[in-house]
């Protein structure tokens, strides 16, 4: 698939999920697209759309290294609730981005790329340079941790969700 204006919003969303900050995401996004443009001008265009996400990931990780780093295995986990879609619907995209950007690497990249709903499994594994088992573990534990966070943040009652406003 070629890189067109259709893919660029997804690239920005990826940067936003990785950094949890609009200005940092914008900076990483613009630097990646500039780099692609300069490569194209130098007759060495990016080989495929995955290149954009690899490059942006590197930039987002570099930005993230300046702040506090999350440690793996520190979060509580809970089984996926049937009420999860309603709980998630009451969230703002920025809340999700903050949660994902706070996850340790490589779980952060795995979750951000997976939930873009843009890539096949083979592409995801190629981007993250990991095996399917490892990737699946990261996504599954991410789901359970996010559910636990949802349960503690947004209690769901039969009438609707209640945002405790913890973020």
């Amino acid at each position: 698939m070629a890189v067109t204006t259709k893919n660029l919003p997804q690239l920005y969303r990826f940067c936003f999920l990785m950094t949890g900050d609009a200005s940092k995401a914008q900076s990483a996004f613009q630097d990646t697209v500039r780099e692609a443009a300069s490569r194209s001008a130098g007759d060495e265009p990016p080989p495929d759309r995955l290149w954009f996400f690899r490059d942006a990931r590197g930039r987002c990780l570099a930005v993230g290294e300046q702040g506090l780093q999350a440690e793996p295995g520190m979060l509580e986990e809970a089984e996926i609730s049937p009420m999860a879609p309603e709980q998630i619907a009451s969230l703002a995209p920025a809340q999700l981005a903050l949660w994902i950007s706070a996850a340790p690497e490589p779980q952060r990249s795995a979750l951000a790329l997976f939930y873009l709903d843009e890539f096949s499994l083979a592409e995801l594994l190629s981007l993250l340079e990991m095996k399917a088992g490892e990737f699946s573990e990261l996504i599954c534990s991410g789901r359970r941790q996010f559910q636990s966070w949802l349960d503690s943040t947004i209690a769901y009652y039969e009438g609707g969700a209640f945002d405790a406003g913890q973020i």
Binding site: E76, E77, L96, S120, A132, F146
Partner: protein, 260 residues
């Protein structure tokens, strides 16, 4: 509290990262795992997972893109579309394998068409008799040592086969044995073994052409099958075939003898 979890099997691992929206080209193992999960005991759990993933994906799609960023999207020629060149396609092993297979099939088909283009009525019968010749043992024939040309009378008097004559090119060869048999497709066949190069002669009824006419030909026409070659001529509605294990060049000297 964290629960103890057993080691997941391959399909469980795949289900853990099942695609949020099923796109074409999804891996077969993944497709099978999803189908099993949807119709198995874990259908409800998998359903919750899919709903969970879909809700998050929707939230991701709702991430706002501000005007400044949107401007970058408008520059459609910012990044040139990288197309797969024909060289890359040609170097693909799958394409190479398909091309070779097509070439082989094409070559075989062309050969068969070429072969049949030069065929004469009765060529199929002649090829069938080549397989008979290749699989025969001399013990099947009645031993008879005489000149091949002398057998015409035997065929006529004993088997009522008229015009089953051995052409003059081969009439002087000494025989080892002979037999007459009925074949489902070729009908009445006279078979002669001779000493010379373990050659075999076949005499059989000619095949009518598309118009139903039997047209004789006095020249020699060749048929080949599995290393055997037959030289066929047709006279008085009867085909004569000299067959041996070898090529056309092995039969040529006998056929040119008469011309000299």
């Amino acid at each position: 509290m964290k629960e103890e979890r057993s080691m997941p099997d391959k399909s469980e691992l795949l289900l853990g990262c099942a695609p949020i929206t099923e796109k074409p080209g999804i891996d077969r193992a993944m497709r099978v795992a999803i189908n099993r999960a949807r119709h198995g005991k874990k259908a409800a759990t998998f359903g919750h997972q899919q709903a969970f993933d879909a809700a998050i994906a929707k939230l991701v799609r709702d991430i706002p893109v501000d005007a400044e960023i949107a401007e970058w999207f408008a520059k459609e020629n910012l990044v040139p579309v990288v197309r797969h060149g024909w060289k890359r396609i040609v170097r693909n092993p799958v394409v190479i394998a398909i091309a070779i297979a097509l070439l082989v099939i094409g070559a075989v088909a062309s050969y068969r068409v070429y072969e049949h283009f030069h065929d004469f009525p009765g060529a199929d019968k002649a090829r069938r008799l080549l397989t008979v010749g290749a699989s025969n043992r001399s013990v099947l024939l009645d031993p008879l040592q005489t000149d091949a040309g002398a057998l015409s009378d035997l065929f006529f008097l004993k088997h009522r086969l008229e015009h089953y004559d051995v052409p003059s090119e081969f009439a002087e060869f000494r025989t080892l044995g002979t037999r007459v048999f009925d074949d489902d497709e070729v009908r009445r066949v006279a078979q002669i073994w001779i000493k010379e190069k373990r050659m075999q002669f076949f005499l059989f009824p000619a095949e009518p052409d598309k118009d139903g006419k039997v047209t004789d030909f006095s020249d020699w026409r060749f048929v080949e099958l599995e290393g055997w070659t037959g030289a066929v001529t047709q006279r008085n509605g009867v085909c004569f075939m000299a067959a041996l294990h070898g090529g056309e060049k092995d039969l040529r000297p006998y056929l040119d003898k008469k011309k000299q």
